[in-house]
């Protein structure tokens, strides 16, 4: 069991807690292969999926995870709730708390929204992605896949390529992987690299590298993680055109071949085919993109169980 009320980010959780989540996920993975995919572990618990941003896989993944543990799962999305009537996050939080929810999974476009919610509610808060801050459950499921495929989380070379500036997935992965002593290479055009990023893991900076050369990032990599270009967050010009973006930062077969022969290609989805990743790579033999999705359910079951189980 995790000795904490919330899961707000990877930055402030320990290696031991991460390993406990991954080990627990291993045992839950089997549940999803049974004919009756359900265990009674969280019967009587109420989980609210509070999504202020569009999401298919994270929301569905949490919903399935909750239901396989026999919890009651309620989905609230911004367009259908009082939020569109101008209710503040604070009032929404208090309302949900008054209904005695045990857990709220929140996704919000404002970084720190889960922290605000956490201060105001008794329910456990799980960060389902906040602004450009963190997406801890994604990093955990990525770690689950990496450990499964590579047998370890240390002494690897992981290249994270693309829109680092707007990416919460990149930040959570940087925190997680550097905690285990893996070399992480962040790669993007300087316009998409947030200032000071090389120092965000202050005491483990020797594991974090920054480059704008994709060849340098991919060379001999064990894992290549591609990020989606977040057009919806781009109110200004970060690069001249999609064509030019793909020229420098698109993952083609030739580029993928510079990595180790047993490289795995990851992507948190949804994919922009032909923008950051070529179709033949996304669907090719190194791609573990769909494995990530199925691991997502097991990892989220583990997190819900470890936070809410008694």
């Amino acid at each position: 069991m995790l000795k904490r009320k919330d899961l707000l980010g990877i930055q402030d959780i320990s290696r031991e807690e991460i390993l406990e989540i991954l080990d627990t996920a291993e045992s839950f993975q089997e549940v999803s292969t049974r004919p009756i995919k359900k265990v009674p572990t969280l019967r009587g618990k109420t989980i609210i999926n509070l999504f202020f941003e569009a999401s298919t896989r994270t929301r569905t993944s949490f919903e399935i995870a909750g239901k396989r543990l026999s919890a009651d799962v309620v989905n609230i999305s911004a367009s259908t709730s009082s939020i569109s009537k101008g209710e503040t996050l604070i009032d929404t939080a208090r309302t949900l708390d008054a209904m005695a929810a045990d857990c709220v999974v929140i996704r919000h476009s404002a970084s720190g929204a889960p922290h605000t919610l956490s201060r105001l509610t008794h329910a456990s808060i799980i960060n389902g992605g906040d602004g450009a801050h963190e997406h801890p459950t994604q990093a955990l499921l990525d770690a689950y896949i990496i450990r499964k495929r590579k047998g370890r989380l240390n002494d690897l070379k992981v290249a994270i390529i693309g829109d680092i500036a707007h990416s919460r997935v990149a930040r959570s992965n940087v925190h997680l992987l550097t905690k285990f002593g893996t070399q992480v290479w962040l790669c993007s055009a300087p316009t998409l690299m947030p200032p000071g990023v090389e120092k965000i893991v202050c005491d483990r900076s020797e594991f974090l590298h920054v480059t704008h050369s994709m060849d340098q990032a991919v060379k001999q990599a064990d894992v290549v993680m591609m990020l989606r270009v977040q057009f919806e967050r781009m109110s200004e010009s970060f690069f001249p055109s999609v064509r030019e973006y793909f020229r420098y930062y698109g993952l083609t077969r030739e580029r993928a071949e510079r990595a180790k022969p047993d490289v795995i290609i990851m992507h948190p989805g949804p994919i922009n085919r032909g923008v950051e990743i070529a179709t033949d790579v996304a669907d090719g033999p190194y791609s573990v993109i769909l494995d990530q999705v199925s691991a997502g359910v097991a990892v989220r079951m583990a997190i819900l169980f470890l936070l809410l189980g008694s």
């Binding site: 996050l89 970084s111 720190g112 602004g131 930040r171 200032p195 990023v197």
Partner: protein, 421 residues
């Protein structure tokens, strides 16, 4: 009002005064300074205390007219005197803004009616602070403004800012700029750096301020007008101002207490009371500001008192309003955190602010308005935001221990605040 301020250490660097003496006040003016025995009028015993010319906070937001749920001229004035200020300069970004002499008249008459502190209005540079056309600067000057600013916003249009400098030069009023290139700062909510990247918040780069300071200094030199940098917050801005002063430009600059006490690390955990504009900067910027205060590059400390109702502060960090209150903590923070002589402190809080705004000077001389700030340098205290006289509670200094406090505030010979143990 009649009063004797007895046995205090009188310090007025502008008049080279530093001695223990009594002040006799008759009808709101200083009648004599020396040794006094005037049995028939009340006495303020200042034994062991510093008696200084009244402190003047040249950058406050009183929110009236228009946002009275956050502050009024009366409550802001009350917070001012509780913080040791006998006078404040009120920024024009009210609703409607002070861009018209009728608003100026309203602020002055409401202050006379309800504020224990003197209030000097600052007029807008441009109509509705839109940055498009000049406001009625001359008529507002006649109505009583002491400077012009579009504070809260910069004047982005360099040509218009040149015109503002030229036109204000006619009245020898300072043009006060909130320096922020809005293109560089777009959507930013905190200082751009490691912390903004870690927190996933959009950054306001130091360059947003520095490029505008640089541009403005060139225009100030070209026009020869008085230019004042509001709430300077970065090392490079400071260096530009230092260089301009060394060449004799008529430039002055102020800093806020939060920029010499806090850095961007205070935003961790998304505390919206650490959200203001300009944002809390890096530790290197903070060090530069402390140097600038000591070496004279910085002329004044001003609070940028920006009260906000809880409804616009208790929100997601991105959506929360910029600004914090500061009138009641400014003097305590300066006394606690800055390695300054008392004379330098009084220059920063009283003498220079009076010069920048070119008000009729007050001080420790016969015939002056009896506006005095009385300090206890040894008083230890803790700021309790719930006891604040401001109508708002948005302060990051809640619970901060301090050493040194304004324990008496006298305006026109009247004791408008005292805190005696």
């Amino acid at each position: 009002m009649d009063l004797v301020v007895k046995n205090g250490r009188l310090v007025d660097p502008a008049r080279k005064v530093d001695a223990v003496a009594d002040i006799v006040i008759r009808s709101g003016k200083i009648q004599s300074i020396g040794s006094a025995t005037v049995p028939e009028i009340p006495v303020f015993d200042a034994t062991g205390l510093i008696v200084a010319p009244g402190f003047f906070d040249i950058h406050v937001h009183l929110r009236e007219p228009g946002t009275e749920e956050a502050e009024t001229i009366a409550t802001g004035g009350s917070a001012a005197v509780a913080g040791g200020f006998t006078a404040v300069a009120a920024m024009p970004n009210t609703k409607p803004p002070n861009d018209d002499p009728s608003i100026t008249h309203y602020i002055i008459s409401e202050a006379r009616r309800s504020s224990p502190a003197r209030v000097f209005p600052i007029g807008a540079i441009t109509k509705e602070q839109k940055g498009e056309t000049l406001a009625e600067i001359g008529e507002m000057f006649e109505a009583g403004i002491v400077g012009i600013s579009d504070d809260g916003k910069p004047v982005m249009d360099a040509r218009l800012f040149r015109r503002a400098l030229e036109y204000a030069g006619m009245f020898d009023m300072p043009v006060i700029q909130h320096c922020e290139d809005l293109h560089l700062a777009k959507d930013g909510v905190m200082h751009e750096g490691v912390y903004s990247t870690r927190l996933g918040l959009k950054g306001i780069p130091a360059a947003a301020e520095e490029t505008m300071v640089s541009r403005d200094l060139i225009l100030a030199e070209m026009t020869g007008s008085k230019y004042h940098v509001a709430h300077l917050s970065t090392r490079r801005s400071l260096e530009r101002v230092r260089e301009a002063k060394s060449r004799g430009l008529r430039v002055t600059a102020e800093v806020t207490p939060h920029h010499f006490t806090l850095t961007d690390s205070a935003v961790a955990d998304y505390d919206t009371n650490a959200k203001m504009n300009p944002p809390l900067r890096s530790s290197d910027d903070l060090a530069a500001i402390v140097e600038g205060i000591s070496d004279g590059t910085i002329d004044a400390i001003a609070s940028d008192h920006a009260p906000h109702h809880v409804n616009v502060k208790m929100l997601e960090f991105d959506r929360a309003a910029f600004g914090i209150t500061g009138l009641e903590t400014a003097v305590g923070l300066a006394l606690t955190k800055l390695p300054l002589s008392i004379t330098r402190l009084i220059e920063l809080f009283s003498i220079n602010p009076q010069k920048i705004m070119k008000v009729v000077p007050w001080g420790l001389f016969e015939g002056s308005d009896a506006d005095l700030t009385i300090l206890d340098l040894n008083r230890t205290w803790t700021f309790d935001v719930n006891q604040s006289r401001s109508r708002s509670r948005n302060s990051p200094f809640y619970g901060w221990p301090m050493k040194g406090k304004a324990v008496g505030t006298i305006v026109g010979g009247k004791v408008v605040f005292q805190d005696r143990t």
